[in-house]
Symmetry: D2
Subunit: 330 residues, 4 copies
Amino acid sequence: MLEKNRFGVLGINWLPHYDRYLTSDGRVAPSLAETFRSAAAIKGLEGFELVHPFQVRPENVLEIKKMLGDAGLTPISIAASISSKPQYRLGSLTADLPETRRQAIDTVTTAVDCAAELGIDLVTVWMGRDGFDNPFQVDYEQSWGRLFEAFKEICFHRPEMKIGIEYKIKEPRRWLFASTASRILLLAHELQAPNLGALLDIGHALMAYENLGEVVYLLARENRLFNVHLNDNTRIWDDDMPMGSLHLLEHLELLYWLDRVGYDGWLSFDVHAILEDPTRLVEESLHFTRGMIQVMNEIGRPAIEAAIQTRQVSEIMALVGKTIFPKAYK
Amino acid sequence: MLEKNRFGVLGINWLPHYDRYLTSDGRVAPSLAETFRSAAAIKGLEGFELVHPFQVRPENVLEIKKMLGDAGLTPISIAASISSKPQYRLGSLTADLPETRRQAIDTVTTAVDCAAELGIDLVTVWMGRDGFDNPFQVDYEQSWGRLFEAFKEICFHRPEMKIGIEYKIKEPRRWLFASTASRILLLAHELQAPNLGALLDIGHALMAYENLGEVVYLLARENRLFNVHLNDNTRIWDDDMPMGSLHLLEHLELLYWLDRVGYDGWLSFDVHAILEDPTRLVEESLHFTRGMIQVMNEIGRPAIEAAIQTRQVSEIMALVGKTIFPKAYK
Amino acid sequence: MLEKNRFGVLGINWLPHYDRYLTSDGRVAPSLAETFRSAAAIKGLEGFELVHPFQVRPENVLEIKKMLGDAGLTPISIAASISSKPQYRLGSLTADLPETRRQAIDTVTTAVDCAAELGIDLVTVWMGRDGFDNPFQVDYEQSWGRLFEAFKEICFHRPEMKIGIEYKIKEPRRWLFASTASRILLLAHELQAPNLGALLDIGHALMAYENLGEVVYLLARENRLFNVHLNDNTRIWDDDMPMGSLHLLEHLELLYWLDRVGYDGWLSFDVHAILEDPTRLVEESLHFTRGMIQVMNEIGRPAIEAAIQTRQVSEIMALVGKTIFPKAYK
Amino acid sequence: MLEKNRFGVLGINWLPHYDRYLTSDGRVAPSLAETFRSAAAIKGLEGFELVHPFQVRPENVLEIKKMLGDAGLTPISIAASISSKPQYRLGSLTADLPETRRQAIDTVTTAVDCAAELGIDLVTVWMGRDGFDNPFQVDYEQSWGRLFEAFKEICFHRPEMKIGIEYKIKEPRRWLFASTASRILLLAHELQAPNLGALLDIGHALMAYENLGEVVYLLARENRLFNVHLNDNTRIWDDDMPMGSLHLLEHLELLYWLDRVGYDGWLSFDVHAILEDPTRLVEESLHFTRGMIQVMNEIGRPAIEAAIQTRQVSEIMALVGKTIFPKAYK
């Protein structure tokens, strides 16, 4: 169970921390080569999610590919960054200025081209600026029209390449358009695009009060679950805490459903190392995740499925408890 | 603007209050005739949402029709009640026992028949029991399979009748399946049922962190906005407070979008009169709503649309503020 | 570590489930004797929290004592019930009618007398009705004046007996006065009552966005931590889920701090068995809690304290992970 | 009513927007003189909250005083900034390094000296870094010990000067120590410091699920309400939206209670102009606030008090509705 899944990571984890009050935590961002080395040093970690344009661009694709190979890492995907520049402050794919929308779309399609050259089939998009901060700030018909138009172009640029939207319900804008798994399905249905799907960041799902197992099922039944980011939070905000640092049973349920739907993609750690040693944080996230996978394998799918059918949480607690707290049952 | 909308109400507002700690507040439920009289006494209130089987059943349709007419009320819809009986405690349309699912489906289709006989075209369904309370309690594939199957039968029972699902993200189950507007669209797409849509309860939308105007637009563009319930809450729970008792600008934005999409249905007050005089509560909810509609009409759509395009909340605040606080600008 | 703590339970766990939509789940409430037998059958469970007036009253104190003894259970406390009767619907200790306030105060002082006769020193009070549902519903000066007055009488009735307020931020009223641990300390400071303290229900603390370990410390430093209820929730509502069914690390931290402050009271399971087998639910909650205590003991306080001082969550994750997922580190 | 209150503002409102994804919104921070001019240009705005060390320092107190006077503004307070430097990233008054704690304390006491020289009696402190991000990250006994020690020194530095803590429950740390109004009272009781109180930021109160009127009352009854910041949010996050942009009735209730307790301090707009014209945003916040004050004055305290005593929200809605939506009652 889940033996087929491999662990990956994002470079963002090694960046210094800043927030709306602190523009520096006193640390210096490592070079990409240093980041690759840090990631590769983590036992069991094999993949890396790249970012265009900050890390990979048409002119350096082969160089990056070599650097990754030298470090012993496999590329997972390219995230097209359309959220971190001043011109995107009021929207990227839904911006008011046609040239800003053009720039955003081109960024995504260029990322698609880079990915193809790199030999992978996945580009991810997080629309952190496409939303609104106040009532009456946007015209929803206008904004959704722009969203549909943009993804039409993006999805049909290279139909054999997958586009995974990392949905999120809020932050940095107070409300975001691509907020839930169902909204991604809505977008895909509208465009009838088989290559449009989701990057499931489980912290984003928790923040939208989604059940992790349920959205895995709903996305996978339409073959639209393209990537998974692992982290944890308080459900109230995208805290990007290490996987398993708060919750247990829901994360086990996530792993069960990833196995159940036959997900064979990557599991990437997207943790925000606020003032922590980033390498250690990924390392321990990986240990916890591997531990949880082992627990699920040890219990086995038939026992889990029988427990679910009793509708009694005590049954699943007994299965898990006996595995992680065996002495408590003596 | 919005002159075409008429105000309605639910009988639930006149029921005594109880919760999980208090099984009686010392009041006695009024008879249906008394409820009709109370509702009809509210100036400007014209419609009533009936409930099957508690209020209307095949054998009393004509009698109820006459009672409503005598009271001077128009029937809006019939809500098929599949959430308040012990057999539904672990699910109605997704229950484990086939006979419970059958009973729930039959309740909805009977409500459809009653509605047809009553001369209206809308039945609403709230699936307050179809969800789960703990991780690993349900098999999402099994549950969603049952949901699809149930609505297939319901929607094709009388394709000319509309079925409006009142979506809600939680309570009384800790998580509910039909949680957001997008999930209703997902269900409708799956079944390719043009008569399946939503009853938008704006408190439920706030609780799911939806923007009211945005979901009106998303539902209406597929002709799936069938009914609207007005109330208010803290966004954290389905408090069913009177319309306008907490929020202002978002409710104005809702009214703007209902007008913008040409919604010509009812606006029903679904307020939970915890220990209040229920008639007065509806009366004041109606005054506030009418006042908000008048504010929007006074400002006018061109001015609102121009304000939206500035992307500046100060512009819309100025328009609203000058209308409701004219002295503050002197 | 924590070997000194004993496990208890509340009878409420065996009651049928009802909520504001379902007044019966089809089950019948067991007799008190049956409840005692069910509780006593749970291996490792030793204590029982009684309720006045529903279970224990001046006239049956000795009988209840004998029944408990026969069942092999120890009485923990008496909860004075002032939230479940119609006359308390708009407040008990802060009600408008002087006779209602009198009745509520008398209920608490009678519970104190019963407790004394029973040979225990703790009465708990949950003020589920003392709060408000809307802005402008109460006069805070008037309400807090009544609160101060009521607890003055209650605390000085028998100063050698402890009064533990079970604080909660909301539900069933939309806002409650005795909302957080700090509010209990505020009340105690105002009255200069050394016997006034808190019953910490950890689900209530999570719902108020409190950190469990921090409130244990803040209450214990003033000797005002009188009792602890164990359960779990989504932080958004008082879901009363079984201990450990969602969270892990925060519960471990709670256990660490209970040990650190030398808490020698009871740990009672206050879980709401929605449609579950109540005995099994307590049983598995107890297994999980015992398992967590064993984990903390196995790690040991020096290692935990060293990990805290690193300020790195990866350190504590490594300690816990190696204990519960040992194979993941091979 | 509330005629005695004067309106003020913070300079932060004119700063460019940045967040954890966007380090620039393309705008340049205005000079302090420009900020003063922008503030002074807002009709009805009279006060300004200064920041030490960024704006005012011992060596420029007289210069700042003159600049303010030239602009026609009155100084309200000095905020001692101990949250925005890398050395404070893991805490300021509770930092691990003694020299960091010393620096933070000295920053506050220097601000106190500057305030005294400026002829005002209020210094405010927001401890945005004193908290934690994960379970087991801090030792609560150690941290609270440091808090007590720091405020002992701060409060007794110049006992005639007031220290107002701007409490907040989370952000930027995932949990903050000085989280609620009651925690400020707890701190003040511990230190027996009559000059320690609160700066009530109403958005922070909403985020902690506090009722605005209730905390005004609780703080004022101990003479510990020193300043008020006006803004609005979704209750889930510190959105810093303009006053009145979401809520109405609770803000009216706040104004009622400020009047009721005789608050004669400033009302300052602390709004975060995400990509908005900051001057216009303050201007419209002021219009809305003045409009709300006029509404409350028009209704009058006796009518409001009578409505409260009915415990019926419909009564207060009728009073407010007739004032702001008079046509809806015809």
